[in-house]
């Protein structure tokens, strides 16, 4: 009986061990399965862990700061350059992305001014001279980078010949003149079925009314309203109302 009890005990232990083993196998399989499914895909390229690479924009910025001038207009040392409304330009080996990425200076100073074309990105920076250059004068043009560091300089000499005109500058001054004295010029003559508005002099409008039966106060209100709609104060203008065909 004692022997039988021992055998039965051993048999029970074997069963428990087998059950524990089976449970372990199931648990281990489950763990392996879950682990395999949750594993992140490996990147196609190994990612650097120790080296910090600059971003693309940083690389471009570094490159632009190191741009070189590869060509100019007028050429370096050129003589007999037309002293009128010519252009001064330079080409770069790398694209310039905005006006803040370079500086261009000219000496001696211009009689009037220049305007730099503002189409970016570009590898050609063009400065248009308004009003012309001084005759028989050596000009030195200096290009600097964003930080104000020297990049390039060149010089040219203007001719003794008197330029024919300064049309670009004249046109700019005309626009200022028109804006000052004829601010509604782009919108006149303004015609409706009842009246026509047109300039007759500086800051003076003539309103020609087609129909004498129309109440003039209604016309005045309408004209003033139209002037205000163009962001102009009617009080800045003398307005003459006349009846006409």
């Amino acid at each position: 009986m004692g022997k039988n009890k021992i055998l039965l005990f051993i048999k029970n232990i074997k069963v428990v061990v087998v059950i524990i083993f089976l449970l372990f196998v199931v648990f281990a399989s489950l763990v392996i399965f879950l682990n395999k499914n949750s594993k992140e895909p490996e990147p196609p390229f190994p990612t650097p862990t120790l080296t910090v690479l600059p971003t693309i924009s940083e690389q471009i910025t570094q490159a632009v700061e190191k741009f070189k001038v590869i060509d100019t207009t007028p050429n370096d040392g050129q003589e007999n350059v037309y002293a009128g409304e010519t252009i001064v330009s330079f080409k770069t080996d790398l694209p310039i992305r905005s006006s803040s990425e370079f500086k261009i200076e000219i000496n001696p100073s211009l009689p009037y001014y220049w305007k730099i074309d503002d189409a970016y990105p570009t590898t050609t920076i063009t400065a248009r001279i308004f009003g012309g250059l001084k005759q028989n004068t050596v000009y030195v043009v200096t290009v600097k980078n964003k930080q104000g560091n020297f990049v390039y300089f060149w010089s040219f000499k203007t001719s003794q010949e008197t330029p024919e005109s300064s049309s670009g500058y004249v046109r700019e001054k005309e626009k200022e003149f028109i804006q000052k004295y004829y601010p509604l010029f782009d919108f006149t003559p303004y015609k409706t079925s009842s009246f026509v508005v047109a300039y007759s002099d500086k800051l003076t409008l003539k309103v020609t009314i087609n129909n004498k039966n129309i109440n003039i106060n209604i016309i005045k209100t309408e004209v003033n309203s139209w002037i205000r709609s163009k962001s102009v104060d009617p009080a800045t203008h003398t307005i003459n109302y006349v009846y006409g065909p």
Binding site: E85, T86, S166, Y169, Y181, Y199
Partner: protein, 222 residues
């Protein structure tokens, strides 16, 4: 039950499209009515043209230059001028004057500034290839402008201007000169036929300006 659901869905879709299409129609209707309401309102410069020797030659040159890519001394320009009926003498005058009229004027290459353009026209019309020296600024204060047998006298400030007059501005260091292409007396503005107004040595004929003697002095053919 399912059929009922389907039917209500179709009805909803139908009414949705019906509503949106009628809204669109209404908006089109609004637009058309507003157009009708403003049909009698016009704004801006209407162009009026006039025949004149200087204007005709200037417009022909503009046409030829544009056709030939502003290659002023090319066979293209010469042949096009002949095709337009210009005589050998006139083409010869053009050839002689064009060389002196060209300057490096802002377009990255050689072109004809305003005074050069008027000088070429003057050379073709009169045969005088030595006129229009100096710069445009000089002409603003002149009492008359002469080339060949042509004389243009300065107009008084109150004299109305007409197409074919010459206008000169003294603004800026070297000024600007043009030919009056058209005039709207009622609205007190004119349109110029000119070169280099935009600083690129190209000929334009569409820039309106007020008739203001502080802007331009005008000269009339005698």
């Amino acid at each position: 039950m399912k059929i009922k659901k389907k039917l209500s869905f179709i009805l909803i879709v139908f009414f949705f499209f019906e509503f949106t299409s009628s809204s669109l129609a209404a908006s089109y209707y609004k637009d058309s009515t507003s157009q009708e309401a403003t049909a009698q309102v016009s704004v801006g410069k209407a162009e009026t043209t006039s025949s004149n020797d200087l204007i005709k030659i200037g417009e022909d040159l503009k046409d030829v230059f544009e056709k030939c890519g502003y290659a002023y001394q090319s066979d293209c320009v010469i042949n096009a001028l002949k095709t337009k009926g210009y005589t050998d003498q006139q083409v010869s005058s053009y050839r002689t004057r064009i060389g002196n009229a060209q300057a490096d004027c802002g377009n990255g290459g050689y072109g004809v500034p305003c005074l050069g353009f008027v000088a070429i026209i003057g050379a073709i019309v009169s045969g005088d290839t030595n006129s229009f020296g100096g710069n445009a600024n000089d002409y603003y204060s002149k009492q008359s402008i002469s080339f060949g047998s042509y004389t243009y006298k300065r107009l008084n400030p109150k004299d109305p201007i007409i197409a074919g007059d010459i206008g000169a501005s003294a603004m800026g260091s070297y000024g600007h000169i043009l030919i009056v292409k058209s005039v709207d007396q009622a609205s007190d503005y004119f349109i110029g036929l000119e070169s280099n107004a935009n600083g690129n040595c190209r000929v334009t004929d569409d820039i309106p300006r007020p008739i203001d003697r502080d802007l331009y002095a005008f000269f009339r053919k005698q």
